[in-house]
């Protein structure tokens, strides 16, 4: 439905009721190998959907399946392929960060449980080295969140669920984690994020589903949603410095394809900004340049969100 690739997660008629309150209402969704975000206001049902996908909450109706297996009947084998960072992450307070990671890795992947692996995840999380062997009860909220991120990706999971992953992390740390999550995505891990912080999601996710009052209001690739809702401003940024093609070279190359743009592309210090009614063609071009990233201009997702969830009207393209 959303992507041509075979879906990794399939949700059919998923509903959840608590007493008489419908929290999730008959959701159908397919998620392929991508970075997929659930966006919506507080209490929209994002976390509940995620918990049903993890098998922690039982659906009232419907089936969530991962890798073609109903998660409710799934064995530990499927669960071991899944990493999860809960919104309110908690640990055994007397355990050290190193020992907690050792436990999680040993539950997910019996081949990776050595000290170097554990240290590489701790280092990746940015947790200060002198805290690795201290009890978790001595950690600050930010440190716990970093350890939470480390355990979610530890043990080589194939899918990682992140529920409000950047809460409790300072602004610089957020930027750092956005890059880290993108890097993990490039390594081939399917990432499912739930958040209400749209600006962060915009930088991480390929696909989004807008959830409100337990229903999916819209779900698609961000660029498709932008096009559908009349937001045709895009930007190209250089995400890797692996080859010699600079942003200026790429700008010069794009400038020759004038028919693709509604108005002339503009070169800023680190990005190219332009309007187009033909984003698919630009996607085709950019797919040959993996060092460059093509996304709707910053703030577009926020506008789409407001339009879909709050029904706010925008002048076309603004």
């Amino acid at each position: 439905m959303l992507a041509p690739k075979k879906p990794i997660i399939k949700i059919q008629g998923l509903s959840k009721e608590y007493y008489t309150k419908i929290v999730v209402d008959n959701i159908n969704l397919e998620i392929s190998d991508s970075c997929f975000a659930f966006l919506g206001p507080n209490g929209a049902g994002k976390t509940t959907i995620m918990l049903m996908l993890l098998g922690l909450v039982k659906p009232s109706n419907g089936t969530p399946s991962i890798f073609g297996t109903n998660i409710l009947n799934s064995s530990s084998k499927i669960k071991r392929k899944i990493g999860y960072l809960p919104e309110n992450v908690g640990f055994y307070p007397k355990l050290t960060g190193r020992k907690f990671l050792k436990l999680i890795i040993s539950l997910r992947n019996n081949k990776l449980n050595n000290n170097n692996q554990i240290e590489s995840y701790l280092e990746w999380s940015g947790l200060e080295k002198n805290y690795w062997d201290k009890p978790i009860k001595s950690y600050s909220k930010g440190m716990r969140q970093r350890l939470g991120m480390a355990q979610a990706f530890a043990g080589d999971p194939k899918i990682v669920f992140l529920d409000e992953p950047l809460s409790n992390i300072d602004p610089l740390g957020r930027e750092e984690f956005i890059q880290k999550i993108r890097k993990k995505r490039e390594e081939g891990i399917t990432i499912i994020i739930s958040s209400h912080i749209i600006l962060e999601i915009e930088q991480i996710a390929d696909y989004v589903a807008f959830i409100d009052k337990g229903k999916i209001r819209a779900s698609d690739k961000i660029s498709n949603l932008a096009q559908i809702h009349g937001f045709n401003e895009y930007e190209i940024t250089r995400i890797n410095q692996n080859n010699n093609v600079t942003i200026k070279d790429f700008f010069e190359f794009l400038s020759t394809e004038k028919e693709l743009f509604s108005d002339s592309p503009k070169l800023l210090s680190d990005k190219i900004i332009f309007s187009t009614n033909n984003p698919e063609k630009i996607f085709d071009i950019i797919s040959d340049y993996p060092d460059f990233n093509f996304i709707p201009i910053s703030g577009t997702l926020n506008k789409i969100y407001k339009k879909i969830i709050r029904g706010e009207l925008f002048e076309k393209g603004k």
Binding site: L54, K79, Y84, P86, N110
Partner: protein
Amino acid sequence: MKKESKAQSFLFYEKHLFFFYMKKNILSVKFIVCSILVFISIFQLFNDYEYRIINSQRELDLSIFWQGFIKPSHIFLILFSAIIAADIVSGEFSNKSAMIIYATESRYKILYIKALSLIITISILALFYFSAFLILFFIKTNLLISIHFYLMGFLIILIELIIYSSLTFAISALTRSITLSFIFPVFYILIDPLLEGFELGLLSINSYTLRVIDFFEFLLFYETIDLNAITIFCMIVFFGVSLLIIPLTSYIFNQQDIRID
């Protein structure tokens, strides 16, 4: 090569989780404190022990069996086993680690591994109590209880402890509250001896235990078998109730949502 064989080792994940919970139980402050209190209770027991002239090994066995194994264990060991079991499941909900752990492994598997680690921990505590009692008794009096009476005493008390700890385990898993998991079993332990007085003997673990003890006492000390319908029922309940509580708890727990907001 070595790594490969490790990767394919049988029940790798389960063994790892089991040793994690075992270590958590044994190295916990409450287990250490309970073990020290058990040791203190044995010294207290010697002070209360009624010394009298013992003419035969049978008399000695009976004396130790009733005064050493059965009577005091009802007070301390049961309470300690409930204390050890109280936060075994609810503790993870209190510190919120449950969300990560139950997302990674099957709930049934985790609960059975926890139950097994709990039973082994309680067995270690009971073994410590029985062994320490025997050794101290031998040092003080140069007398030893017969091995089959020792084993019988140990078995009955151990099963009784498992019943109380599995009940606490069930409360811990189903209420997910450490406070309730402590309060309910302690309250039950306090009212248990009174239940029979109110004609509620069917609900009293103590009354089942006494029936079973009576049966084995007659069998081993007097070599007579007193097997009637009530005794058979009590035996089934006594030996089978834990086998019922743990799977039932796991089943109900598996039906519930795991969500900590």
